[in-house]
Amino acid sequence: MRQRRNKRKIALRNAGWLYILAPMELHTQPLVRCIVEGNTLTVLVGGSWAMGKAEPPEAQQASEALQHNAPTVLRLSASPDLAAWDTSLLAFLVRLVKQAQSKAVQVESDALPQGLRRLLALTLAVPAKAGSAKNADDASLLASLGKSIRSIPQSCYDVLDFIGALARAFARLLVGKSTMRRQDLWQAMYECGVSALPIIALTNVLFGLILAFVGAVQLMQFGAQVYVAGLVGIGMLRVMGAVMVGVVMAGRVGAAYAALIGTMQVNEEVDALATFGFSAVEFLVLPRVLALMLMVPLLTIYADLMGIIGGFLVGVTMLGLSPAEYINATISMVPYKHGLIGLAYATVFGIIIGVAGCYQGIRCGRSAAAVGLATTAAVVQSIVWIIIATAIITIICNILRI
């Protein structure tokens, strides 16, 4: 296009430059002229209109004239110098026509070029549907606070409803009437168990290492570095192993469940289950919660072992303990009941992660953004509830003196 214009320019230049300059300048910018004659406001558009070019100041004047001069007729017309135009001109005209219509000014557009007139008619053909524009939400702090407080009873009800459905599904499983597919359970157990082994090993060896270092700083001062074995052993077995597994699994598996079930919700797959009379809780949630309930404790045993290995590495290489010394100290200083308490923590964490992930997935909205929100909520809620549950179980153990 530019090339062609350049060619034309060159051709014209050969014809004599004084002759061409004036009209070329005119055609590169959009032009508007307003003429007021009695009760008629005539708006002439001309020049060349393209998106991105600033509207001429006269465009504003036209709109003001319509506002203040109170004409009864708005006549739209094109001046002969109207060259190229695109929808930016259309937008200007539509704005004027709407303004005129709101003030009950009669609009005459017969003088516009035919294409422009047709597009204008097309744009104005379907009036905005009354009530279809959304009311802006009251976004003030108090309003949103009130809204979130008012939603608490409903969300409590939803969570309890979900847990109740899960408990009923579990009861049906116990009496052998469940429609849960066994292969779904195996699949879920494999995914959340076996595939998590490497990352659990890595995080817990490092965590055992950290525990040992932190303990050694104090214990070295009075030559009691052998107690590092007890500190790491009890710390890992009793609570830290389970918490570490819980946090890793919340990020790894809880998020995956929320995203998976949420996407199934988006694709109407959950509805498809419902129309066949399959319970989504039994089909999708129960196998996953069961898998986590079984695999998180098993992973915790593995994590405990890895943590002790981490402590062992520090004890043997940095604290001058012999391997046999460290192992013996661990065995004599760490009673097995700590391991059992750790498993109790782990079972609870498994249920929390499964319930949070699946609940967020099941109640996910029908959009990609909703899946993202569900995933975030699943991870955040899992981790928060893991910490709350840790506190509660620790207090209970304290009261029971175990």
């Binding site: 429609t179 996407t263 289950l273 129309t275």
Partner: protein
């Protein structure tokens, strides 16, 4: 006149305080190919969701035979729905299962067929929908039109009495859409299946529909009932319905 299969009376559907449609009454007879039509946003799919038991109406009743559907306990609703098959707009195949498993799952849960028989049934249903040989593909590995046909195969898995189809031919090429229409007519004639179809594919509407309801987004209610071809001929058809059926071209 054959006996009514589904009848709705005085049905209103709302989302919160927003009433999507009010006072809908209609009757689907056995062996009908019943078309739910109307412009976009008029609540066709929502009406289908009410019929499928996924969305509770605000007012009014839905009767399946003698059963008052929404007033009965969930177990009974499930029993009713077990006689129905559903094809969702996007197929809604379970993405973690192969096509054969998708079709076979309802059979596995609700019949005492052996694994081999289930597989055979699944292959048969897939072949009926024109997907022979695709048993072991996952939904993500086939095209959108094929997913739709697989969804139809799954809807037919339990030889349902009623099949709900949500825009079955949208996204299909004209030939596939024609094959689908033929399949629907064939099933109606051979297995006496009743079809309730949401569509705005005019060719399909005239080719297979023998009963219909026209929903209007503006007045939020039904503007017309009856055979689509008869509606086109009838003198008392509302102009809006006629314009819809003629694609906006006045005769």
């Amino acid at each position: 006149m054959s006996q009514p299969c589904i009848s709705l009376s005085g049905l209103s559907v709302a989302y919160g305080s927003f009433v999507l449609m009010r006072d809908i009454s209609m009757q689907v007879n056995k062996q009908d190919i019943f078309i739910i039509m109307g412009g976009s946003g008029c609540g066709k799919s929502t009406l289908l969701r009410v019929l499928m038991g996924l969305k509770e109406p605000a007012l009014g009743t839905v009767h399946y035979g003698d059963v008052n559907f929404w007033a009965s306990p969930p177990e009974q609703r499930q029993a009713v729905m077990r006689r129905a098959g559903v094809l969702f707009q996007s197929g809604a195949l379970w993405s973690s299962m192969t096509l054969a498993e998708n079709v076979g799952l309802p059979l596995q849960q609700y019949t005492s067929l052996s694994a081999q028989q289930i597989r055979e049934q699944a292959s048969l249903k897939l072949a009926m929908a024109g997907l022979a040989g695709f048993e072991d593909y996952y939904p993500s590995e086939i095209s959108g039109g094929m997913r739709k046909r697989a969804g139809l195969a799954r809807a037919l898995a339990l030889d349902p009495e009623i099949v709900f189809l949500d825009e079955p031919s949208a996204g299909l090429d004209p030939l596939s859409a024609r094959l689908l229409d033929d399949l629907i007519l064939e099933l109606r004639d051979t297995l006496s299946t009743t079809f309730v179809i949401v569509t705005h594919e005019l060719a399909s509407i005239f080719a297979i529909g023998n009963n219909s309801i026209f929903l209007d987004a503006e007045s939020r209610t039904a503007l017309a009932h009856g055979n689509p071809r008869a509606l086109l001929e009838a003198a008392d058809t509302k102009p809006l319905v006629r314009r819809f059926l003629l694609r906006g071209e006045e005769k």
